[in-house]
Symmetry: C2
């Protein structure tokens, strides 16, 4: 593993806004053209009209820019889930059921759709961590008084769920995000129509909610 830097350098942020924007636009174009592994820094610097050396003054490498670019996109996504959970009165599954179609719209109808397509079809461990909202990560620092940004677990009514610990919560969140990624990956790969995609997600969601086993009598 290489040393990972998560952010651009200060130098980048000191840049005039329009130069920053040029770079991000270039990133958008290149990462929409091909998946991360095939993207070329050469193309990006040509598009952004900056010199090779400058690029490396702002970012450690391709990945660094990639994840930063993604971060600029995902800002609203956090709030969206939060709202859906509130709206569902803490019902985790209902919340997700409302969340998914919104998410899908954002991903497929955005002008970045092509970027997202590559992303979801090449979703690996690192990427899935980046994509997962912070608020979903395990909270280990409850004692710290600066809980400035709240945790999704706070919006969920745990009484409805067979969940014992924060650990479990985290694990369950991850499972649900996995469902989401998997379904969207499928959607892109097979170019399914929107309603089928949603139906497919809901089916998985309900399996998880109610169980796949038949209970006593088959109410099917």
């Amino acid at each position: 593993m290489k040393g990972e830097r998560k952010m651009p350098t200060q130098t980048f942020f000191n840049l005039p806004i329009d130069k920053q924007k040029r770079l991000l636009d270039a990133a958008s174009t290149e990462f929409s053209r091909v998946p991360l592994t095939e993207a070329s820094i050469n193309n990006i610097i040509k598009l952004a009209e900056i010199s090779r050396g400058s690029f490396y003054q702002y970012f450690k490498d391709k990945e660094d820019l990639y994840y930063y670019f993604f971060a600029t996109l995902k800002q609203d996504s956090k709030k969206m889930l939060e709202d859906c959970l509130k709206e569902a009165n803490g019902d985790l599954f209902l919340g997700y059921q409302n969340y998914f179609p919104k998410m899908l719209t954002m991903i497929t109808e955005d002008k970045q759709a092509s970027f997202f397509k590559h992303m979801f079809l090449h979703m690996d461990y690192r990427t899935s961590r980046e994509v997962t909202p912070e608020a979903m990560k395990k909270r280990e620092c409850e004692h710290k008084k600066d809980r400035h940004h709240n945790h999704f677990a706070d919006f969920v009514n745990a009484d409805l769920l067979k969940i014992d610990s924060d650990e479990d919560f985290h694990s369950l969140f991850k499972v649900m995000m996995t469902f989401l990624f998997q379904t969207i990956g499928d959607a892109f790969a097979k170019e399914l129509p929107r309603d089928e995609v949603i139906a497919s997600f809901n089916k998985k969601l309900f399996w998880l909610r109610d169980g796949v086993y038949v209970k006593s009598e088959g109410e099917k």
Copy 2:
């Protein structure tokens, strides 16, 4: 998308066995050293002591060799799941519960463990398709009389499950494979001890089996 070839050329199979083996050994070494994207054909041909031109006579590119190498490893895995399902008398979940520890052993204790580690940490859409046993894929060719290799659905007692169609079966299989990949990915990433990994998988499995919602009274 580029034209994908799944197999080595005939030329490769015409080669003397020991030369084939040299190449596969080289693949094993290189793909254990680094993930696919960082692997270098240069290294492989040096290790295998073949010329650059020869390599391209056998394989279309890195990926081609990679997936072929993987195919040589995965042969027994199919039978393993089949046996587990039989042993569980068609109980899908019990079958998987038995299957997982065996799978885990195979992946972590094999001499290819390092290869698998890279694979699971970089599992993308394509890879997950390759890894998933054939017998799990959707069967569309029931009418064809040559059902020479059987389908996992045949070993599963569907009466126990809320499953309506083959489509559903396929979808459920995929979910379960996803659990498996996700859990193993976690295991490698966080270097969890074996029993924790198994516990984590089982927890997810039982969530899916029985549902995450509490039923009527909390038997917790």
